[in-house]
């Protein structure tokens, strides 16, 4: 804290810096305060009125959440649906991204817009259409059905990331491998794959988090057997237990944070964004 105070003291002397520091700290608080409130709510008891902090701490709400909200079942639904959605999206996006990124495709811009369309349309309108079709096909309340609905918004992400990854793959590097004596197969394993792997990984992470957090599309296609964490959390709000809802929210956040740290540690963030044009 003394270091921080010292920095502020120096910042006071240099007013421009003071402005920057204050802005950054406000921004940080603005981003984190909802999480802080939820976190406190989920571990506090008898927290009413004008008190700044909860008077008693407890883990009861988490126990409630686990049993009443049937967390193990709900979490496994969420993960199974996300896994199916990621698999289908990636399988769709690999060839599409390759074609868009490396082949001469007529009307490429138009095609890309069409692929992005599900992300442009308001999700609720899109979800209604999907629900009508899925009722007829008996896909509602199945893991595959909910996952398929998710694919509509996961696949565009995957295609976008992978086409930019493949576009950034330098043809001449592959030629160099061939001249060095590597057959197509060995070029693929020693050069192509290691170069596109970060892109594929980032595509998987993006699609996974999209599916994991998806609410609107799930709401229109779920049933008693396929309830997911975001939907369960929303339902808990209706049931009126704010503390349990908060606990659910925290449970919902944990895997996201885990993924985020995995990304930070395993993959260089600059490689995630634009393929690796910079390398």
């Amino acid at each position: 804290m003394t270091a921080l105070a010292k920095r502020y003291w120096h910042a006071l002397i240099n007013q421009k810096k003071l402005f920057v520091y204050t802005f950054l700290w406000s921004f940080f608080l603005w981003i984190t305060s909802p999480f802080l409130i939820i976190l406190l709510k989920s571990v506090g008891r008898n927290w009413f009125g004008k008190k700044w902090l909860p008077p008693e701490l407890t883990l009861d709400w988490y126990k409630w959440a686990l049993t009443i909200a049937n967390i193990p079942q709900v979490l496994s639904n969420t993960l199974i649906i996300a896994a199916i959605a990621v698999t289908i999206s990636t399988l769709l996006a690999l060839p599409t991204g390759w074609a868009l990124g490396r082949r001469k495709v007529p009307a490429k811009e138009v095609l890309t817009s069409i692929i992005l369309l599900p992300r442009m349309i308001p999700p609720i309108a899109y979800a209604l259409g999907i629900a009508q079709i899925f009722y007829r096909l008996h896909l509602v309340d199945t893991h595959l059905g909910v996952a398929l609905a998710h694919v509509a918004i996961c696949a565009p992400y995957a295609i976008l990331v992978l086409s930019s990854t493949f576009e950034g793959l330098d043809e001449r590097v592959l030629e160099a491998a061939a001249v060095c004596g590597a057959s197509q197969l060995r070029t693929f394993f020693h050069v192509t794959l290691p170069l596109v792997l970060p892109g594929i990984l980032s595509s998987i992470i993006f699609t996974f988090t999209t599916s994991y957090n998806e609410f609107t599309l799930t709401l229109m296609t779920y049933g008693p057997h396929t309830i997911t964490l975001p939907v369960r959390t929303y339902l808990a709000v209706g049931e009126g237990y704010w503390e349990v809802t908060s606990a659910l929210s925290i449970i919902l956040i944990i895997p996201s944070l885990f993924v985020l740290f995995m990304v930070q540690r395993q993959v260089q963030p600059e490689k995630l964004v634009g393929g690796f044009k910079g390398v």
Partner: protein
């Protein structure tokens, strides 16, 4: 044909209506450094890709070391190649990049290390073995590219504009380094470039390419001093072209009429009286004198139209007769001003004739 390490025989390659290579014949002798020189789009890249196997010619055959490799895939041709954009593997260290061709050839670990370190020593990059390509400068990356191409002792070394992505000063240094390295190893090399200065400085022989055809093959001296076509003369170095008609031929000299002036030039083989031809002379071979200079052969009165100061030389445009403008480059010892009358001398021995 035993003496040719690389040979293109009657190679033709079309891309739709565009003929990239039209009946190209090219042979690179064993141990020679040959340059394939031409402007962009002349087909030199296609010719190179026929040698690497990334392009299969529509007609004609490709030979490497006397073996017909036209239908052999790239990875079995035992080539070493250096790329314009370096094309190093970005996910491998310098060591791994150089090791790659050896790993592919399943050379035992111990021997591999020795060969990699030898190659790195050759380019003075031993201390950079654990660096990644992105941590190196352009010149260093290209040296690694060279090491990767040479490490497995390929039959031939192909260089595709290896210096184009480097800045001017480094380019000149690297030019000598590459020349020196190739001479020391005695490897056969084909060097593709659009830079005529590079071609002249590096090569044992130069092949000048234009519009899908090889225009002329010769030593740098031959190419520069006696170009066989207007294109070659124009592409390599600066040139004045004067169009005229042959009036007479006496004792090996042709008298060429250009408007009202007459030029004496050495007659090329096959020159005939009455023929239209091109006379060409390099701007630095033309001499300028004050207007009161006594009359000599091939000396004409003219007016300085324009001059440009280039540091070590001054570039004049002199109008000699109606429609005849001659470019002259002189050292700055005697200076003339724009609009000044001068005498222009085109020394007979420096004039060349191009029959069209």
């Amino acid at each position: 044909m035993d003496d040719n390490m690389i040979e293109l025989r009657n190679v033709t390659k079309r891309y739709g209506p565009i003929v990239a290579n039209a009946n190209v014949n090219l042979s690179v002798r064993r141990g020679e450094l040959m340059t394939l020189l031409g402007p962009s789009g002349c087909g030199k890249t296609t010719a190179l890709r026929c040698i690497t196997g990334q392009v299969t010619p529509d007609e004609g055959r490709v030979f490497i070391d006397g073996v017909d490799v036209t239908d052999v895939p790239t990875h079995k041709r035992e080539l070493g190649m250096v790329f314009q954009n370096f094309a190093l593997f970005p996910h491998m260290t310098v060591y791994e990049n150089v090791e790659f061709p050896l790993m592919i050839r399943r050379i035992p670990q111990g021997q591999r290390r020795e060969m990699v370190m030898d190659a790195l020593r050759l380019i003075r990059m031993e201390s950079y073995a654990q660096h990644y390509p992105r941590q190196l400068s352009g010149g260093q990356q290209q040296r690694v590219g060279l090491a990767r191409a040479l490490v497995y002792h390929p039959k031939v070394l192909l260089l595709d504009e290896p210096l184009s992505n480097l800045d001017a000063k480094l380019r000149e240094e690297m030019r000598f380094e590459i020349r020196d390295l190739i001479s020391r190893l005695g490897i056969t090399a084909l060097y593709v470039t659009h830079d005529q200065a590079e071609a002249l400085a590096l090569s044992d022989r130069v092949a000048v390419m234009n519009a899908g055809r090889i225009e002329q093959v010769g030593t740098p001296d031959e190419i520069y001093e006696s170009p066989r076509s207007r294109f070659v003369a124009d592409f390599i170095g600066l040139s004045n072209f004067i169009r005229g008609k042959v009036l007479a031929i006496e004792r090996g000299m042709a008298i060429v009429a250009v408007n009202h002036i007459k030029l004496m030039v050495p007659a090329a083989e096959g020159t005939q009286v009455g023929q239209d031809l091109l006379v060409f002379i390099r701007p630095n071979d033309v001499q300028l004198f004050p207007v009161d200079f006594a009359k000599a052969e091939n000396t004409f009165e003219g007016v300085v139209h324009k001059l440009t100061y280039l540091g070590d030389t001054i570039d004049y445009r002199v109008i000699v007769a109606e429609g005849v403008q001659i470019r002259v480059q002189t050292d700055g010892k005697v200076r003339f001003n724009a609009g000044e009358a001068v005498k222009v001398c085109l020394p007979e021995a420096r004039c060349r004739v191009i029959l069209e």
